[in-house]
Symmetry: C2
């Protein structure tokens, strides 16, 4: 098969989108429009609906001639044999979603991988080496609060025990391991790149940002991922009655937390970084009790590791000063000095800036230019979000493909990418995998 | 019985405190010290533990010769007959607690009432008119978010249906009515001052503030209660991915809520009022999703109604301006302008400033001076917290008695009042009720 032959391999847009919407019946979320597919998704990792999606994935890839490899984190590697044995080149992403997520984040990457397998079957194509599709567990970190945890275990960057013992957020007792057991997806194969090495990992994903749409471009060739760090900050004050405790006698954990969150945004502005709080819990949680304890998540991101380091240092210093009653940034102007409070920090996740592999980036660019027929529609990008490709890239050549997100919206039921854009992305994925397979067959990669 | 006879009526401190700590075995909360009684309480209204406390109350007062009157809000009026028929003079308070509350708030008032009944039995005293003890339902408003809701229904200031349909906080499905039915405390008597009129209502309560302790005084003669108002503020932005959404594209509901809470404190300082947020929930609730919706409680208090009115007006104007991106009080200094958000307000509870009845205040003062033997140990006070006496005072003569709170702490497991101070308060309560009964027998009150 020559380079030109790839052009004959068209993915079937209707078939792929039908499959995508069909498995979105498992864990359907909030409705935002009147059409049948105008709902979001709420398919938390290892929930009953995630099990349904997994069962579908296993059945479908098995029917397409794949062997299933299930590891101790519930990662599912479906592998289609090649002309010769060897490591498989994978398309990978995830089937879990945010609690109030959409139909494309993660899901598109898996469905495009399955469409790839179908096209190969349709055309009776035998690749040189095996190719496969991998579904990574709990990418979102929404239910079990470490994102990309299972590719992290696979990369041996996160210890298995820590991942298995992760408790679900919100005070429930379920752990990753107990839920893997419950839904029947606790594999016997070790979760490790040593047991399940990959020749390469390609991931098609929605951009989740506004750039491609704004620039009227179709495909992002992703060179890497920005750094991020997740913290849990605990503010410790003193519970007290709201009616009888003068402002000056209060150690109001919610008031301090409000100032800290306000300040974190200012520091992000100063550093050209990003900061956000998506989880906050207070106790005891009563209208007429000043809360003694507030815990909140802090998500900090920047393109360079050094910027995140500087943010962390400033956040820690300024939060401590604010807790002690120091008037940082005028936040205490016009306020009543209260009692001092304590702050403790926990680092939940550290994801350094990531650079993808030149061979994979080149394969994606060549595929994108061939599929779109117009270099002007293809853009080099850095990902704002973390993806399983971050951990994959530590143990095998990796790159990603982005397609446009309407209004840049993601982690929201209204997340949307047009069927045409999904199809372009899927075709770029297919061709990237085939190009990489050919590259390996020519002995032209470092990892064949 | 002459005035001087009252002095012979000593309450039994040991017996009262034993009973108090004994019923604190129903719904025991967080431990803060090593002694058996050094725990807080977590006895939410109409919970299983509240049912246990109620059963004990009914059994004990029945054994002391009282008739039980149960109304449709689960208020329990235990009435001991007098020499002649007529309305009863009540000691009242509540047995429910905050989720992380102490052993004295409400509980002391009920136990002192029961000790009053025991002393009357011990001395075979027949009062002129009936006397009684009333346990009001869900005073705290912690589980069902209207405080003093059942005395409010009794006063016909809160409609029964609204109270019955109140849902428990935190998203559960239980209502006041369903829980009253479940624990067997849905009475058939209408919850109304018309069905269950009271001659007067006296309430012994811990101060829940630092004043008596700081001033080394023993008894507060309470002349009234400050005004307060409870709101729920909903901030509506847009869910978005934390990694891919530039600060300028965000409508971050948590960031705005943080600024609003910071600002509410400043307005409270300006107005010499108080403001606090004790409940905050955000959705969807994921570290890497900027929350689109935040709801938080706002508790606003001041001694005068006009001050609370002014606070409410300023809060509404400034919150709207901040949501629109206006830089109120420099809160947006050094920040990245984002997308506008919407704010909606709900008023959950309005409690105007309250003035108690001169006859009851006089009875409490006379009793306090007689019991302490020293005017210097007695102080006129305004209550910072709302109490069932607020609603009681709308339909019958009312006053309250305060005793010191260690460190001014309340709504906290470490809430503490010494046994000696509890006993002084209970004796003042007993004598206030007897003095008021005598006043009625002399035809000297407006309500005999």
């Amino acid at each position: 098969m020559q380079d030109g032959d790839f052009k004959a391999l068209k993915i079937d847009q209707g078939r792929m989108m039908d499959s995508l919407h069909s498995i979105c019946s498992f864990g359907t979320g909030k409705r935002w429009g009147s059409a049948p597919t105008e709902t979001g998704m709420s398919r938390l990792a290892l929930s009953d609906s995630d099990k349904q999606a997994r069962d579908w994935f296993v059945d479908t890839t098995t029917a397409l001639g794949c062997a299933i490899n299930l590891d101790a984190m519930g990662n599912i590697f479906a592998v289609r044999p090649g002309r010769q044995s060897g490591l498989a080149t994978f398309a990978g992403s995830h089937l879990d979603t945010q609690p109030s997520g959409g139909r494309y984040d993660g899901i598109l990457g898996i469905l495009a991988g399955i469409e790839m397998l179908r096209v190969l079957e349709d055309h009776h194509i035998e690749t040189e080496f095996p190719v496969g599709v991998v579904n990574w567990t709990n990418e979102e970190g929404a239910r079990f609060p470490i994102s990309m945890v299972s590719s992290g275990v696979w990369a041996e960057d996160i210890p298995l025990a820590r991942a298995h013992n992760l408790k679900e957020v919100g005070g429930g007792k379920a752990t990753v391991k107990s839920e893997l057991e419950r839904i029947g997806y606790l594999g016997t194969m070790p979760a490790s790149y040593k047991s399940m090495p990959m020749a390469a990992h390609f991931e098609l994903h929605i951009e989740q940002g506004p750039i491609l749409e704004t620039e009227r471009q179709k495909v992002g060739v992703v060179h890497g991922v920005q750094a991020y760090r997740w913290f849990t900050v605990e503010v410790q004050g003193r519970d007290a009655h709201t009616g009888t405790t003068p402002l000056a006698n209060r150690a109001d954990a919610m008031l301090l937390a409000a100032r800290l969150i306000t300040h974190a945004h200012r520091l992000a502005t100063t550093h050209s970084a990003m900061a956000a709080t998506g989880i906050l819990t207070l106790t005891p949680g009563s209208t007429n009790t000043i809360p003694g304890t507030v815990r909140f998540a802090l998500d900090v991101r920047a393109p360079a590791d050094a910027t995140v380091d500087a943010m962390e240092a400033d956040l820690k210093a300024d939060f401590a000063a604010l807790a002690a009653g120091e008037n940082i940034g005028g936040l205490l102007d016009g306020s009543t000095p209260g009692k001092p409070l304590n702050i403790s920090w926990q680092t939940d996740s550290v994801s350094p800036a990531t650079l993808f592999h030149a061979d994979c980036i080149a394969a994606v660019r060549a595929a994108a230019e061939a599929v779109t027929g117009d270099k002007g529609l293809v853009r080099d990008m850095t990902s704002g979000a973390g993806h399983d490709s971050v951990y994959a890239s530590r143990r095998c050549p990796t790159s990603m493909i982005f397609v446009p997100s309407r209004n840049g919206v993601s982690h929201n039921p209204e997340e949307y990418t047009s069927p045409e854009d999904c199809a372009v992305g899927a075709e770029v994925l297919l061709q990237s995998v085939l190009r990489y397979d050919r590259l390996r067959s020519m002995g032209a990669t470092g990892s064949g």
